[in-house]
Amino acid sequence: MKRNVAIISVGYNGRFVSKRPDINIPELIQPAVANAISKTKLKPEQIDAYVVGNMHTFEGVNQPHLWASDHFGGAGKPVMRIATGGTTGASVFQAAYYHVASGLYDVVMAIGWEKHDEGDAQVGLMGILLPEAFSMFNFGPDMSGERGIAGLGGGGSTGGAAFQAMSYLTKANAGIEHIDRIAALMRSNAAKNPYAHLQQPGCTEADIAKTPIISYPLRYGHTCPTSCGAIALILASEEKAKKFGITDRVAWVKGLGSGSSDAATGNIIEGQITDPAEQYMCKVVAKKVYAMAGIKDPKKEIQVAEVYSGFSHQDLMWPERLGLVDEGKSPEMLDKGAFAIDGELPLNPSGGVTSTNAIGASAMVRVGEAALQVMGLAEGGHQVPRKVENAVAHGWGGLFQFVTVTVLGRTPVKK
């Protein structure tokens, strides 16, 4: 007999923004925690355990949850820290799920955050490969001018994403205009989400196309911002969900999984053996998660998808790799309006990661937003106008190799 676990509350610290020079990390986290609790009948001390995580090298504070102990309520409680790169937020949520699913705890809070204004994101990102890069210096790469730098990571400041984008466009027989189009959709969706960072109401393809190309086919308008913000989710067992939820609207965790495959691009050290747009592991994990969730035909049974795209072309790619759209068919779906909030497969009604990216939070925001959609509680106009039976939340990270998939639903899986 497996234990049913539900997300009973989603809390944000406020709108995600570029800078919060008036507060520090613990102060960033606290309002998200308080907000999540306020949407339940819980008193703070009734939370049994906490799972937390962020990408701490971005702020230069090792394990900041230790410092934030009193601000999030962890002092005197069981606390565990999880961190897995871009998928951190989802990994934290999944760990919180297992805290409850194991039977050891009944009410667990998952918290993800990032405070990008306190560090240099470029340094943080470079840090992924820094030792390997240094080692390469021993092997005499060409450092002359731009060619040398390109030899290290490829793709300019977009890194490997540009390769992935080019490969995707080739596979899908699509053009840069499709990336422009979906980027515009995301920014205008974000304008309907009071918590999103970059909100551009009525953003059009032309607006995005005005931004310069960094590394073809990626433009400035296709890249995610760096945001400051925090999100907290409260998970509960079936019994406690009834006791502490304010309404009977909760989002049941029906399936979840993670996978790790090839570091693609940047793996000049050990051989890159997949094309970055293949994302085979995403397909494998999605299949496993749908089976767990009792979903036979994801194209028909999933009503909303929140996918993690650091760059806009990924918003076209992930729905295909997740089996929600046939291979190469996302541009078509986009063009016929299927991905719009009122379309047949609403994609990132929240505006997605290209509108808001606080790395440690982002993958959890996908789960939180999917939960809000299932519960019918998304604010500001980004709630999809139909009953959401199932929603999928996806996370991605590392050097294109980590993936997490979660399916939430209105009703738990029949045992």
């Binding site: 961190a83 790169g85 050891l104």
Partner: protein
């Protein structure tokens, strides 16, 4: 759901102060050796959990190149950015849920050669108050705690030295320990370099390059791996507040609470009688009496008697760190997992020269954060 989970395999590296190989090769060789010993492949493992930290690895998303090295290529994996025992706790939860049957947990760091532990630990201090103030660090916290204990309970520097010697002798008999001291003696310990009195260099754990791998399994799959499973019968973990001024470093009430929770789950009413040995994660030997007492293994303040009567020695009433503990090897993220591996070895009668006779029940502890802010406790049984 699964009701019982066991440790069905374990292995640790011969820890060193300067590994001849990079971390990737170190953990790859370790996991390969463990698989070979058990006659299994990476396909027999449902989920992989790493215990490592970007700050100790010196790179962002430090698991990018280590994930395939533990056999998790194209597999389900995650990372606990804390001590190795927390990672084992997460693996335990995953198996209890019934969604997984087997898990591999690997903890490692290159704390001996790639960085100086105190420097990296300083990043855990908040940048607003403690870091700029520059007074608090892991060493000075241990000194505050040791001073408080010594003053309250008349525990002397000689007592502490004797306790330290006990650990160093145990480490000498431990083939995996990095630190080997010829003829450890009280005089040598008392004569070692003072750092933050009473903390001296000899009291400091041996930050080392090393790794530990442990395989957990549900009861129904255990036979595939071993006929000597070590059952996880109780767990508990709690985190204290961050600010040192608000903490009672002697009472260590959150460590106490974690131990009590684990004992309750394991049905242990009298730990002093029912526990056969303890493997405790001490960053400094001065932590040993404080932690052992907080865990209910000895009467509060009995440190002096425990040392005089040899109660915590391998042949004593309740051996503490028969492996030598972190004083022998402390690869930080691996250390908590090593405690679990050592305890498992003891219960399976595989601890060689460090064997505690007739060991059936052990308590295992790991800490994380300044002054053991976070504590995890397991009770394991054969």
């Amino acid at each position: 759901m699964n009701e019982r989970v066991a440790i069905v395999g374990y292995k640790q590296t011969k820890h060193t102060f300067d590994s001849p190989v990079a971390r990737e090769r170190m953990i790859y060789e370790l996991v390969k050796a463990l698989f070979a010993e058990l006659g299994i492949t990476r396909d027999d493992i449902d989920t992989f959990i790493l215990a490592s930290n970007d700050f100790t690895d010196g790179r962002t998303i430090s698991e990018v190149f280590t994930v395939p090295r533990i056999g998790a290529y194209m597999k389900d994996e995650t990372k606990v950015e804390s001590d190795g025992l927390s990672a084992a706790l997460y693996a335990y939860m995953r198996i209890l849920s019934g969604l997984y049957e087997t898990a591999l947990v690997v903890g490692f760091s290159m704390a001996g050669s790639e960085f100086r532990a105190p420097l990296i630990q300083s990043y855990t201090l908040d940048p607003v108050y403690e870091r700029p103030r520059g007074i608090i660090n892991y060493y000075s916290i241990a000194a505050l705690q040791a001073n408080a204990y010594m003053r309250k309970y008349k525990f002397t520097e000689e007592d502490l030295a004797q306790l330290t010697v006990k650990n160093l002798e145990n480490a000498n008999n431990n083939p995996y320990a990095a630190r080997k001291e010829e003829n450890p003696s009280i005089d040598k310990v008392l004569g070692s370099k003072p750092l933050y009195l009473p903390i001296r260099q000899a009291h400091v754990s041996a930050y080392a390059d090393g790794a530990c791998a442990v395989i957990l399994s549900s009861k129904k799959m255990a036979k595939k791996f071993t006929n000597k499973p070590v059952w996880i019968d109780g767990v508990g973990h709690f985190m204290d507040t961050y600010y040192i001024g608000d903490r009672d470093l002697l009472a260590m009430e959150h460590l106490s609470a974690a131990a009590k929770k684990a004992y309750k789950m394991a049905g242990i009413k009298n730990p002093k009688k029912e526990i056969d040995l303890a493997e405790i994660h001490t960053n400094f030997s001065s932590e040993e009496p404080v932690f052992a007492e907080a865990m209910g293994l000895f009467k509060p303040g009995s440190g002096k008697d425990v040392v005089k009567n040899g109660e915590s020695r391998i042949d004593g009433a309740l051996p503490i760190n028969p492996s030598g503990g972190p004083l022998g090897a402390n690869p930080i993220n691996a250390t908590g997992l090593i405690r679990l591996a050592e305890a498992s070895a003891q219960l399976r009668n595989e601890a060689g020269k460090n064997q505690v006779k007739g060991a059936k029940t052990a308590v295992v502890h790991a800490q994380d954060g300044p002054g053991a802010q976070l504590n995890t406790v397991f009770v394991v049984r054969r």
